[in-house]
């Protein structure tokens, strides 16, 4: 092992410009080898090159299927200039954000916020290795070049491997501004690259959170009150204990946990509890009452997030005014791996195995809740069977620590599908009230969009109205079209239904309203929907770029199979521009079939094009599922749906052909996990209008709204 001695921590901060992130070539800091951290050596390094040439990368982000644990090493390996995939990966546990920055897999950030730190780390190491070779040969560093794990001096034909150079390189000064590779020279970035974990995935040997097993571990299921905010007031402990394999019953803040020798015994024991509940204040909440709340709130004064020109005057003076109201329901995330977490809580320390998207959040909440010193909480990040935002929440991790503490043993808490569906933090319901004015030439002169929505910021984080409005109108405030008079405002309408982040967050709702209403206006102006948008995008070249590309690849305006109709939508979110054209037919019974989706994105440099396509396909499918099927309804204070029979997902027989195209440029990468989702709902709804003449103004799209007979 090689240790850098010349570099202070302050230097690292200077090098990367990112708090606490830094290259440490061979720097290794073993932490408290007491059996806990030993298996997960905590090192503040992105990479290490051993004297034997072995390269190790530390991967700091979770992988819930988005491919971060392949894409992040791609960036490092390319900039370091080694062969792919000749390195070992170490998956970091949750560590202090000061050390590696955010470890959250959310907000489509894994690549876009790691791009510069990882390139810096790779380039710094490559530069130091090159300097070490130059020094060894007594030549100028500029006359040497690094290539695939070797530094070469062309003039003399000499070369040294990174392993041979590592020890010397570690003694050299760390360059302040190492030169990044020219994107033209990337040998890994931009090439479709198979995911490193897929062999294990197809053999069933990848360890998901659900697969964790510890010596002496008990399994647990928790009985929770089905009504939001309700509590368990009584239960039959003897009946639960009478179930074979049940080892105990413990109370935790979320309910009553049955501890057992197997998952099945825990499930059976939980059923035997036959709990009594105090349903609390939300016992009479229903979807109808929530609609009434929205009716009431939409008339209140809105908090404006945008107010250009004079909308009221422009509407009063417009040639034609259109009005429309769009409604979007609550949604459950429903990742296929139900929530679960394994914890071993002791008095002074705690170790956790969690399939989480936000390990640092869970880590911090556990430390604060139980009074552990942060360094005494070890949170191992397991692979997740999907996340879609659900696994950002720390609730299932905290609950498992409570159960383990009460049990005095390591415990895996397993949620059933019904638990998952009834105790999600849902995509907020929202209503969108829009008015717009056209002048005599069909120009859009006024736009007013009022968002009425349940606030995540206010109910989850105690955010104020300004924060709530900014979040809930995201995607509405940033309407890209040149409209001289434009107002967007927000009315908060919170209920007892817990809410949080769903893939694309409020960008799942606002573009549905924006892009359907734009389509209505195009029709009113008797203009082609693509042309109508294009003439308001003079100052938006990247919007224009994706819209043109999607229209071209989809054959917009050309002949289609009989009964097929196209719809288009455009939306920028998470730093990425996306346009989609959906080709749809509608049967007489009102059922909608989506045949083809053409997606065009501009997310800057594409790290792994195959993964980009996969992420876009996934975002489109989850958005299509929401558009055609997704709805969580509330009755008697609880979620009505419970499993996939009443919360259906899209099936292979309903799957459209999806084509993904991207703009090639050399801008820094932006997100891709979420941005292809927002346009699909409005693109389908707009195609449905062309097929039926019926405007879709609520989701999901209902056959009864479209039936022609």
């Amino acid at each position: 092992m090689v240790t850098i001695t010349k570099v202070s921590r302050r230097d690292f901060l200077k090098i990367t410009g990112v708090a606490g992130t830094g290259l440490v070539l061979g720097f290794y800091l073993p932490l408290k080898p007491d059996g806990y951290a030993a298996a997960q050596p905590l090192t503040n390094a992105w990479l290490r090159i051993g004297p034997d040439g072995a390269v190790t990368f530390w991967v700091h982000r979770p992988d819930m299927g988005q491919g971060a644990r392949t894409a992040l090493p791609m960036i490092l390996a390319d900039e370091l200039d080694i062969e792919w995939p000749k390195f070992e990966r170490v998956f970091l546990p949750a560590v202090d954000p000061q050390v590696y920055g955010s470890q959250t897999a959310g907000g489509s950030t894994s690549i876009r916020t790691s791009w510069v730190p990882l390139r810096t780390a790779g380039a710094t190491a490559r530069s130091m290795l090159t300097a070490a070779a130059a020094e060894a040969w007594g030549v100028e560093a500029a006359s040497c070049r690094a290539s695939l794990g070797t530094v070469i001096h062309e003039a003399s034909g000499r070369s040294l491997s990174y392993g041979e150079l590592a020890e010397k390189a570690a003694t050299l000064p760390v360059p302040n501004y190492p030169a990044f590779k020219d994107p033209e020279d990337f040998h890994i970035i931009g090439k479709p690259t198979p995911r490193l974990d897929h062999p294990a995935r197809v053999q069933g040997s990848l360890t998901f959170g659900m697969d964790v097993k510890l010596p002496g571990m008990l399994y647990a299921c928790v009985a929770r009150c089905p009504v939001f905010g309700g509590t368990v007031t009584g239960y039959d402990e003897a009946a639960a204990r009478a179930v074979e394999g049940v080892r105990g019953v413990v109370e935790v803040p979320t309910g009553v946990a049955v501890l057992a020798e197997s998952t099945w015994a825990a499930m059976k024991g939980r059923r035997a509890l036959n709990c009594k509940f105090d349903y609390g204040e939300a016992a009479d909440l229903s979807s109808a009452k929530i609609a009434e709340l929205f009716d009431e709130k939409q008339g209140e004064e809105g908090y404006a997030t945008r107010d250009d020109g004079d909308v009221e005057a422009a509407l009063a003076g417009a040639d034609r005014v259109l009005n429309a109201v769009y409604d979007v329901p609550y949604l459950a995330h429903a990742p296929l791996e139900p929530m679960n977490c394994t914890a071993h809580a002791r008095d002074e320390r705690c170790e956790i195995w969690a399939p989480t998207q936000a390990p640092q959040w869970a880590h911090g909440v556990v430390a604060a809740t139980f009074g552990y010193a942060p360094e005494n909480v070890a949170l191992n990040i397991d692979f997740s069977g999907g996340g879609f935002g659900r696994r950002l929440m720390p609730d299932f991790v905290v609950e498992a620590v409570y159960v383990s503490k009460a049990a005095g043993a390591p415990v895996k808490v397993v949620w059933t599908r019904e638990d998952d569906m009834h105790h999600d933090f849902y995509r907020p319901a929202s209503r969108h009230i829009l008015s717009a004015g056209l002048d005599g030439s069909g120009n859009l002169v006024a736009w007013k969009h009022r968002v009425v929505a349940h606030s995540i910021a206010a109910t989850l984080h105690g955010g104020d109205l300004r924060q709530a409005a900014g979040e809930a109108t995201s995607g509405a405030t940033e309407l890209p079209y040149a409209i001289p008079n434009c107002r967007v405002d927000y009315c908060m309408a919170n209920t007892a239904v817990p809410v949080s982040y769903f893939r694309s967050v409020y960008n799942t709702q606002t573009p549905f309203a924006n892009e359907c209403f734009i389509d209505e206006l195009a029709a009113a102006a008797e203009m082609d929907p693509v042309a109508f948008r294009m003439r308001m995008l003079d100052d938006e070249p990247r919007h224009r770029g994706v819209l043109e590309l999607a229209a071209e690849k989809a054959g917009w305006g050309q002949s289609l199979p009989s009964g097929h109709h196209q719809g288009v939508a455009l939306h920028r979110s998470f730093g990425t521009w996306a346009a989609e054209v959906a080709e749809v037919s509608v049967r007489d019974d009102g059922s909608v079939r989506v045949h083809r989706v053409v997606c065009a994105v501009d997310c800057g440099i594409v790290v792994n094009p195959d993964d980009l396509a996969a992420q876009a396909e996934g975002a489109i499918v989850i958005g299509l599922t929401a558009a055609l099927k997704g709805e969580i309804t509330i009755d008697e204070g609880r979620v009505v749906q419970s499993n996939f029979h009443d919360y259906p997902l899209l099936r292979i027989s309903e799957m459209p052909e999806i084509e993904v195209h991207y703009i090639k440029n050399s801008e820094n990468p932006s997100g891709i996990g979420e941005p292809p989702l927002p346009p699909i709902g409005p693109a389908v709804a707009n195609a449905v209008f062309r097929a039926t003449g019926v405007r879709v103004r609520r989701l999901p799209i209902r056959p009864e709204d479209l039936r022609s007979t």
């Binding site: 197809v202 053999q203 296929l336 069977g385 599908r417 799957m655």
Partner: protein, 152 residues
Amino acid sequence: MARFTLQVNGESHTVNVDPDTPLLWVLRDTIGLTGTKFCCGAGLCRTCTVHMDGDPVPSCSIPVSSAEGSEITTIEGLSGNGEHPVQQAWIAEQVPQCGYCQVGQIMGAAALLARNPRPSDADIDEAMSPHLCRCGTYQRIRRAIHRAAEEV
């Protein structure tokens, strides 16, 4: 509790479990074969698919008592080291995203190809529609099944 003898991946396992325990939990918790995944617990998503005498079944909905006497194959027994043509096709087409449903998808596809070596798109729809995927990999699943069919 009762004793059951199961034939899993060519090996005999005698387990002492509650007779109504679903096969899924015997495989996962008792025998330790965690490749088969738990998802809906109600036969609605086919994530937990295993083969019973060659037929794809949702192991979450098969009580252990009905599994006795059948030859059970799980993903661990489908091939020695991932060399089954379906697994190879899944890699070639980069099908998985999270991968949680993919074991069930692969077991479903392997059973389909065993009885229908050249499935049409309609055959694939029929056989694979019960299998849910939340990540949206269906297009690649279809391509991978066609690819595997060519290689079987």
